[in-house]
Amino acid sequence: MEDSTALAFHSALPDRVDKPEDTPRSVERDRRITTLGVLAFPLALATMVTPMTSARELFPIVGDSTAFAEESKEEGLALPAPDTISAGEEAFQVSEADVANRTRLALLARHYEAARLSIEEEARLAIVTERVRHLIPRVTEDDFEALQAILEDVERIKSADIERRRRLGID
């Protein structure tokens, strides 16, 4: 009786049944933990963010920030088609960014109101701040590349000037 119970118990452990012979058990356990972690993280994030979504009614952001796209539309200008992302993806990113920013502003409001946030709220604020930084960037690679292009042109102008000075015997 005891033996059959023990057998049933052991066969319920997937790592023992599925583990290849030469795989150390610690490796199998780590894999399980990683898989669980991957599944658990979005769940935990959703749990942390969801209570703040009630702040949407308090912070109706959409009507208050004027995206350039919106201004152009009003002015009757055609918007250039995005190169890398579809309109649907862009719309999703916009709303995701605004939701994250709304959450961040609500937490900041609490921070200033209560003078101190709980450890959990501090962590949540750090997460959404990072998300906003990522989703609503002030500068992009294009900005850096544009400056780089200017420096390259300056280099051409400099070479031309050196050549000009050499021709005229200046220096």
Binding site: D64, S65, T66, E74, V132, P137, L151, A160, D161, R167
Partner: protein, 215 residues
Amino acid sequence: MPLNPFRYAQSRYRRKLNPPSYSGYSRYKPLLKQEFTSQCVYGRLPAGPKGEDSFSIDHYRLQSKFLELVTTYANLFCACSCWNRRKGAFWPTDAQWRAKQFIPNPCDHVMFEHLRYRSARVETKSPAGALAERVLMLNDERSVDYREFVLSVIAVLEEKKRRLQETISRIDRQRLSYPERAERLSEEKISAERDLARLEHHLSRVAGGVSMEAL
């Protein structure tokens, strides 16, 4: 004194333009660019090489709370789209106003009393400045890196501009000394002036129209 767009005004800015009332606020955009010399009122970054697309119209007093001010010119500012979006629907509560926690603007407040630049990083000088920095995230690392890059590009441009101006004045002196070479020297001068114009164009894009009032 080297050009530096990253400075906050030490006095309140009085608007120079007095446009007629428009029914749509977006019509004010070209005027706002002119009024604020195509520089963001919060971060001071010029339109720069990316162009005017990086700017949007900021309703200082929120559209949702101050409906009557949606198309009022005095309520509109030229701001980076990013700060505008990050500011979102932030508006101080009564308690925050009492604690002087608000986002300052250059027309109602002396920006330098709240914020200042130390190199490429914004320093806060008041509760309002601290709140503005936090809400707008003025010191996010990428922005600071970019400002440092802008300042280094300005320094390079200014140095090359000086050098070209010197070349041009040396050509002028040669023209006086060697009239027989005047034609060739004129060609060289035209080419140098063309390069100088290119440098000045780059400089105006990167450093913006730094107005004297802002310094």
